[in-house]
Subunit: 138 residues, 2 copies
DNA sequence: GTAACTGCAAAATATTTGCATCCTT
DNA sequence: AAGGATGCAAATATTTTGCAGTTAC
């Protein structure tokens, strides 16, 4: 098991349970974003559907995961960088969704360029969602 | 009624029906994006829920509307610029979601800056979603 | 008149809530 | 032991599908 798992949970004052360990492990193993359905599949029906909903929600509240905006109706989640703390996400990075294989990536190292918005708009968060063909599918 | 309505429908080989006229009118009146629920409300229960789903889907297919990515699970729609044609969206513009009033705007005149993605990623579409406080709520 | 569109019913899917039980600390 | 987390059941919400009746052209 990934050494960061227990640490991350404890740092966030969460009790260390099987479902939380397993779900966190899934995100650490795969670099891509995961939707509720993905987790249900990859955890092999080990946990209740509801537990997964609640775990994801808890992780988002604690700043362990963030949701990724997308134009379809599927909510996807990805690991936050360490800078994220409770109720305070700093995820102004780029997401890439592959049209072919459907994988969603967090491109942490790419920064979102500054944008000039019309006067009066105060920006708190910037999300750049790119889509196209990913490196595996080209 | 807005003069563009009939024209837009005919240009896309769609028959001119009450629901389509009304829904298109809603989008032309309000500059903001609309979710299914918004349309249901503002059309005063005039149409069936299912008709709204189908109308929105048809409009997206025809390139009259596009969907806006968002981190919550609500799918919002907004008018495409004229350049969009069937199956071929060109909406690389900026969307702004107000955290206070919940309104989503299409900022057509703001362009998405170029981004340098890692080698091997082919970008077909770029969506920049900004959120914060809008001009009315500041 | 015919093809396309709508409304209704119902199925399928997704999400939320309450509560009793179990597990972590 | 106590509080929190889970599982199950069920309520709610959302989206899709089939089909018969209606409307646009």
């Amino acid at each position: 098991m990934h050494p960061r798992i227990i640490d991350t949970l404890k740092r966030n004052q969460l009790s260390v349970t099987d479902s939380r360990k397993k779900i966190l492990e899934l995100f650490l193993e795969r670099k891509a974003a995961l939707a509720h359905a993905d987790i249900e599949q990859h955890s092999g029906d080990e946990f209740d559907r509801v537990t997964i909903y609640r775990t994801l929600q808890t992780f988002v509240e604690k700043g362990i995961l963030h949701t990724i905006p997308s134009a379809d109706n599927a909510v996807r989640y990805a690991l936050c960088k360490d800078a994220c703390t409770e109720g305070h996400h700093h995820d102004n990075h780029v997401h890439f969704m592959c049209d072919v294989c459907g994988t969603t990536y967090c491109l942490d190292h790419v920064t979102v360029p500054a944008v000039q918005l019309p006067k009066g708009y105060q920006v708190h968060q910037l999300d750049l969602v790119a889509s196209g063909t990913c490196i595996k599918c080209k």
